[in-house]
Symmetry: C2
Subunit: 454 residues, 2 copies
Amino acid sequence: MQSIFNHLRACHDRSLAELKAYLAIPSISSDPTRASDVEQCARHTAQLLNAAGIVDAEVRKTAGHPVVTGSWLQAPGKPTLLIYGHYDVQPVDPLELWEHNPFEAHIQDDTIIARGSADDKGQLFMHLKVVEAFLKVRGRLPVNVKFIIEGEEEISSPSLPQFLRDHKEWLKSDVVVISDTSMWAPGVPAITVGLRGLSFLEIEVTGPARDLHSGEFGGAVANPAEILARLLAQVKDDQGRIQIPGFYDKVRDLSPVERAEIARVPFNEKAYRDELGVQALWGEAGYSPLERAWIRPTFEINGMWSGFTGVGAKTVLPAKAYAKVSTRLVPNQNPNEIAGLVEEFFNQRAPRTVLVKVKCHAGGLPFEAPLNSPYMTAAREALREAFNYEPLLIRAGGSIPIVAEFKNILGIDTLLLGFCLQNCRAHAPNENMYLPSFFTGMESLALMLEKLGS
Amino acid sequence: MQSIFNHLRACHDRSLAELKAYLAIPSISSDPTRASDVEQCARHTAQLLNAAGIVDAEVRKTAGHPVVTGSWLQAPGKPTLLIYGHYDVQPVDPLELWEHNPFEAHIQDDTIIARGSADDKGQLFMHLKVVEAFLKVRGRLPVNVKFIIEGEEEISSPSLPQFLRDHKEWLKSDVVVISDTSMWAPGVPAITVGLRGLSFLEIEVTGPARDLHSGEFGGAVANPAEILARLLAQVKDDQGRIQIPGFYDKVRDLSPVERAEIARVPFNEKAYRDELGVQALWGEAGYSPLERAWIRPTFEINGMWSGFTGVGAKTVLPAKAYAKVSTRLVPNQNPNEIAGLVEEFFNQRAPRTVLVKVKCHAGGLPFEAPLNSPYMTAAREALREAFNYEPLLIRAGGSIPIVAEFKNILGIDTLLLGFCLQNCRAHAPNENMYLPSFFTGMESLALMLEKLGS
């Protein structure tokens, strides 16, 4: 393995230069005006696969943004890994909070800062470089690999399930490997064994047919912003329990053993508070902060707007008020069922002075990983050797909806090996990747391939 | 008077052309980027005064936007009217709801549509044309007039009180005349005898130090948008009563006679609902819709924003949430006192998981007019003759804070003669002025001057 490590280490500077070029493409999948950038990023991803030695790399059309595939299958009798990643990124607003252009990667304090550096171009790129190292140094990989790299993860992968169904035979593999999660801390590797699901909705409250002068009409007609605030305020009680009827019905409560495992994770509440910049944490009564973020479903307001939001004063009684909201789901909640319950809640509570419309945007199933597979074992060993630290088995509050689809459609379990840090600012301004994790992470991935091949 | 009427009628087309040029200046006082347009509009106003025959018209500097003045004082022994108006206008957003460019006046169905057509350039312009008619036809006015035309009414006139104090001697007059209110209906003139005051505030709720991934952190940290919604939802009870301690303490309840006067106004609830486009009205229990809009204080959300408000889904837990809110005040509430109570309410109810800041933007005192002055009598007679309809004595829910300042600083009462219609869409897209009211209104103003001079 030393020659592989040597090769990876010799390539650090070139790898960073290539990564910067990759991060420079503003592949924001949710923004229709960025469609050609997303398309260009797909082609760039295929070129990176080619450069790594994957000669059959291909950009494949879908109903939405393309999927990029490629494979190396010359290790008969050895396991086949399906390596998944995504080349699309989140929007960048609020742009003014970025310290540098989000698409001109900036390196500072051993950290690369750019949109996509952690989620997920940076982590996907690690796999490409590991494959390249084996193929350059040895001319072969210890195992078979297939790549499936999509461009719609940040909009909940609308086209990927159909792609999985259409290419079921080609995609046949032993395990899915995804690096789109985080480590526990610098030097403390982790495998993510649970993910929450998602149901994302938009609520539109319509009051009067047009914006009104709040002096002339204020007091005599319902204000949709006020109705929206009152509806949103009814979602949780003072203990943080969600009041939507049926919301908790299918939640599988964790066993005392599972809760004890979470309690063993070294969690520093003060550091967590400081990192988030809050005076006090808050959440559902009866659960620890990690449990609230990992194994409890929740309801969040992601955006809200109504009326005049410019500089100064404008005495308007708005015609409309909007909120974007999302629930995070745990086993065995179903995103479609939950979306229906949320919709019903808002419709039933809406007074007849306004019109409430609820639109479902996106959803994803929750996930739990099997803890005793040979792939899990190899991954734990590889991480321990590379980082010299026994990896934690953690969970994550976020969603990778496709993980459930891999299980449902292809029948394959997923191994979630993440290398960004918890404060990598995914989805937020100044997203970043800590470079020591990036480089040591590549070595751990190389070790895992070697172990799975022997 | 017939020669005055003839002159006014002969000038209809020229008046409209001049009005269009006046409305074309985007004098949005709340927008710092429009400062030069506001300045230009002040100069244009002075030119209009000159053209009307007011030779001493002058643009006068203030700490903010300029005040335009002018006078004609050659009727010794006759009353002196102080005619007030404002040349500034509201912002135009949401721009996409305008059927035409808000600054290119469009005439359709006997109505002129443009920002400022009703509030207040259009109505101010009527006074200029009436003065012009007298000076062109007779070479003199029946009374003395002074003009005071400001450019900060839509931002609550921050500089005008100082201007009144600085020019107290010059401004000495018998009555203030303002046309910045509305008629009751087409053909039904009205004098506004009461106005609500205003206290406008902005609330900022700060949660985490940056936007967070709502999957990773949702459930474990307070969401400022949720806190804001919960705080706003606490402002009123289910009966529409404001729960801010002390809010109603100084409210003067109207006498049964005063309430009976309001009940005599022909109010068609269905037409009101239809015009506003709502299924049902809503407001404080125990009061009629007109009472809720005219003589009861209220609390409205004018704007609200937080997190992601773009196209599609973004799973963010926002760092900040904002609301712009305003209270409408009635005698004897004081805007500063009420702002203090609102601020205290939000600060006291804010949980320690977030930081709440309340900023006071603007305020204005409520107003009630004396009903038995010779000016009120002349105005009622003039309106009755011009419109052939006994004018209603109505109230308005909106604020003209300066009316209280005229009383406090100069000791002068104000006569509010309004000529736009109730659905003139002041402050909203497609603001308009109904031209029959505009032209007959000029004749009523001419009649009033004549009556006051005899």
